[in-house]
């Protein structure tokens, strides 16, 4: 891993709201739903485990390092992994065919590393399963998150569902290639004569 990634987050520390959302999302009984990239809502059956040392049970999404350290037999169970912004998704390279879910953590919505992590998960590791945004997930970032291949969103508890749904439809066309549209507009745009 690049030594530059091991910086201590102070500026980008987890917001209080995000903390609250994590607490809310930590119990499966909270009845949480996640928004899918297509705008539909799904009952959430996963539990985010923030602690590094807990013994995972089925349905847990555990820290990346914890997941990598699991015994091979445990990795055949329905256990997912979440990636923090200073972690390298390539650590999951050997598991992309079997991982049931990968979550990308946004400790603050201003921390943009998760967008590159999701991009790498999809384009470099070719991970095809669900990628979930967790943490400080706000409606106004959903369109970009969708573009980089995040397929479901565990929205912060205070976010309005209707606003979130329409945010996914903000733009009907995009300029640059990304995960959701690997062909840039200039290759799709009909060559027009300048007026």
């Amino acid at each position: 891993m690049n030594p530059q990634s091991a910086v201590h987050d102070t500026e980008y520390k987890r917001s209080d709201n995000a903390q609250a959302a994590h607490v809310a999302a930590s119990g499966r009984a909270s009845g949480g739903h996640v928004l899918a990239a297509d705008g539909s809502w799904r009952a959430d059956t996963w539990r985010i485990v923030r602690e590094d040392d807990a013994e995972p049970v089925d349905g847990d999404i555990v820290p990346l390092a914890r997941y990598v350290a699991l015994a091979p037999a445990q990795r055949r169970r329905p256990i997912g992994a979440w990636i923090g912004p200073d972690q390298d998704p390539s650590a999951l390279a050997d598991f992309v065919d079997t991982l049931p879910i990968v979550a990308v953590d946004f400790p603050s919505f201003r921390d943009g590393r998760g967008y590159s992590i999701a991009t790498l998960l999809r384009t470099r590791l070719r991970y095809a399963g669900p990628v979930r945004a967790i943490g400080d997930v706000l409606v106004d970032q959903l369109f970009s998150m969708k573009r980089v291949g995040i397929s479901e969103f565990a929205l912060r508890a205070d976010q309005k569902p209707a606003v979130a749904e329409s945010a996914l439809r903000t733009f009907s066309e995009v300029y640059q290639r990304s995960v959701d549209q690997p062909v840039p507009l200039f290759r799709r745009r009909a060559v027009a004569e300048p007026r």
Partner: protein
């Protein structure tokens, strides 16, 4: 210039709708200040000292007459009837009411303008040579690449929350007129020995708190690969740039920490994954975009029509010498309209002036104009035969100060009069220096001197690269000014040097600054050799003679000056 098609228009109108919704949610109390801030910033909206400031994008400094008229109308209706052209070739309106902003953006969109990514931790407006397409020393027109990069960077989903702002400049000429080496990425358009177009890529330049001249990490990237290579740089930066300290978050700090060679290795490793493929710019796209920048229908003239005669009229000759530039087409010249004159903040332009300049650009050209990073305006295509007529009109509107490149053609940030980041005011300093050097004969005799003023370490006024640089600093709650000399931005005015100015010593009070500048000039005049510019003399004799003179005077009069300042 580039014109929007239906797709561009739709994207822009969806952006306005997105912002309008965000603004409404914010005004309704649903979107907290902290969460609204990056959204408004990426639409150009700052909270300043007295009001909101809207920074409107002028992509690579190119404007049409229609667009300038709209800017004039917006400044009149929503602001106080003037705007400020900035060192990123943008236009800033200083007195904006937040609830109006969605309507302003909608009005801009009608003329294919916006304020997208003029602030925030994202890729900012891409700048280039104000003489693009007409310059005599151009390798290839940089504007098609600038436009392709503009579209690529617009709402890039991966790079909207970078560690810090990100500035790209393109230079496509022998002379670097875009301060390219002082950008996060500097792209120099070059030709390979085989004649293929490409870019030499520099990274990690910048001004601000830690001024650094960028380092070339690749001598030649094929032009079609520009987006892929830039993507690789941004991905490395996005992942590994520091986010723990605002002052160490620019890419230059990462490049410095890793070393340019290691940074380049990481970029190359990333680039190997993204090279070629769908991200490569197609020839069809280059052709499509380049067609928008095709030369306008110039009239062909004989040798007589290219002759410029200013004999017998000193004032006119002076203007020709300073404000008129060579053009690649015989019979034409480019004219710089000066926004620098006594009594006006450098770069400020009233709505009436904007409307007049729009008219001038149509009557003396093809309805296009340029904004320079030195905060002036350019009419790129003026027929030689009509220069005198234009001079008369421009003079009447206060736009013909014959001072381009001279001491009073200062780059000045808005400073403490407007900006909430500033430690000190900049505009009154530029005013007092301008008043001190009002004698045009003397000014012309002094020749080319770049004097740049910033009101704080963020260096919006490019003080680090001023031949003379002035930086406002705060000492115990009062405003002081640090003076440096020897900076150079890479342009011919500084002999092609790129250099960061060296600080003379202890800072000065505001009333002392004109005296200090006068002292520096006196040393230069006494020491200069034939035809030597200030910057050349400074490079030859070093800091000491300047220091000796300045601080001798300051010892004599400083106490009084300090009392006066207090």
């Amino acid at each position: 210039m580039y014109r929007y098609d239906d797709i561009d228009r739709r994207i822009l109108s969806q952006r306005v709708a997105q912002y309008r919704d965000q603004l409404q949610r914010h005004l309704a109390g649903e979107l907290p200040v902290e969460e609204f801030r990056p959204l408004r910033l990426q639409n150009g909206l700052y909270m300043q000292r007295h009001a909101h400031m809207l920074r409107i994008a002028v992509p690579y400094g190119l404007l049409s007459a229609t667009q300038l008229r709209r800017l004039a109308a917006i400044a009149r209706r929503y602001d106080r009837g003037y705007g400020h052209f900035s060192t990123r070739q943008n236009l800033q309106l200083n007195w904006i009411d937040l609830p109006d902003t969605a309507d302003i953006l909608a009005s801009l969109a009608e003329v294919e303008m916006h304020a997208i990514q003029t602030s925030g931790n994202c890729v900012r407006n891409i700048t280039t040579d104000e003489f693009a397409g007409v310059a005599t020393d151009e390798i290839a027109d940089p504007r098609p690449l600038a436009e392709i990069l503009r579209q690529w960077s617009t709402f890039h989903p991966e790079f909207a929350f970078l560690p810090r702002k990100f500035k790209i400049a393109i230079s496509a000429t022998r002379e670097d007129r875009a301060a390219t080496a002082f950008h996060d990425i500097g792209l120099y358009i070059v030709r390979s020995p085989a004649g293929d177009l490409g870019v030499r890529v520099l990274v990690g330049g910048g001004m601000g708190r830690t001024p650094i001249i960028g380092t070339v990490i690749r001598d030649f990237v094929p032009i079609a690969e520009t987006l892929n290579y830039v993507e690789a740089i941004l991905r490395v930066y996005n992942r590994y740039g520091r986010r723990d300290n605002l002052f160490k978050a620019r890419i230059k700090i990462l490049v410095k920490a890793l070393g340019a060679a290691e940074f380049a290795r990481q970029v190359d490793e990333e680039y190997a994954h993204v090279a070629g493929g769908e991200g490569a710019i197609t020839e069809a796209e280059f052709a499509r975009v380049a067609a928008f920048f095709a030369p306008p229908p110039y009239a062909s003239v004989d040798a007589a029509g290219d002759r410029l005669d200013a004999a017998g009229d000193r004032a006119y000759a002076r203007w020709i010498e300073r404000n008129v530039r060579a053009h690649r087409v015989p019979g034409y010249r480019s004219v710089v309209l000066s926004l620098k004159k006594p009594g006006v903040a450098p770069g400020d332009c009233t709505s009436e002036q904007m409307e007049l300049v729009a008219d001038l650009s149509e009557r003396y050209g093809f309805g296009e104009l340029r904004v320079t990073h030195e905060q002036n305006l350019v009419l790129p295509d003026v027929p030689v035969a009509r220069l005198r007529e234009l001079w008369d009109e421009a003079r009447g509107a206060g736009l013909a100060t014959p001072n381009i490149g001279l001491l009073t053609d200062m780059i000045t940030c808005p400073g403490g009069d407007f900006c909430s980041l500033a430690n000190a005011k900049s505009i009154p300093i530029s005013q007092s220096v301008t008043e001190r050097f009002e004698d045009l004969d003397y000014l012309h005799d002094l020749g080319e001197i770049n004097l740049n003023i910033s009101g704080c370490m963020n260096s919006c006024g490019h003080h680090h690269v001023g031949h003379i640089g002035i930086l406002g600093v705060d000492k115990d709650g009062s405003e002081w000014y640090q003076v440096s000399i020897g900076g150079a931005d890479g342009s011919d005015a500084g002999g092609g040097r790129t250099a960061i100015g060296r600080v003379l010593g202890p800072s000065f009070s505001a009333p002392q600054v004109p005296d200090v500048i006068e002292d520096l000039i006196a040393v230069y005049v006494a020491q200069r050799r034939d035809g030597e510019r200030f910057i050349d003399t400074a490079a030859r004799i070093g800091l000491e003679p300047f220091k000796a003179r300045v601080y001798a005077r300051s010892r004599d009069g400083s106490d009084e000056a300090i009392r006066e300042a207090a």
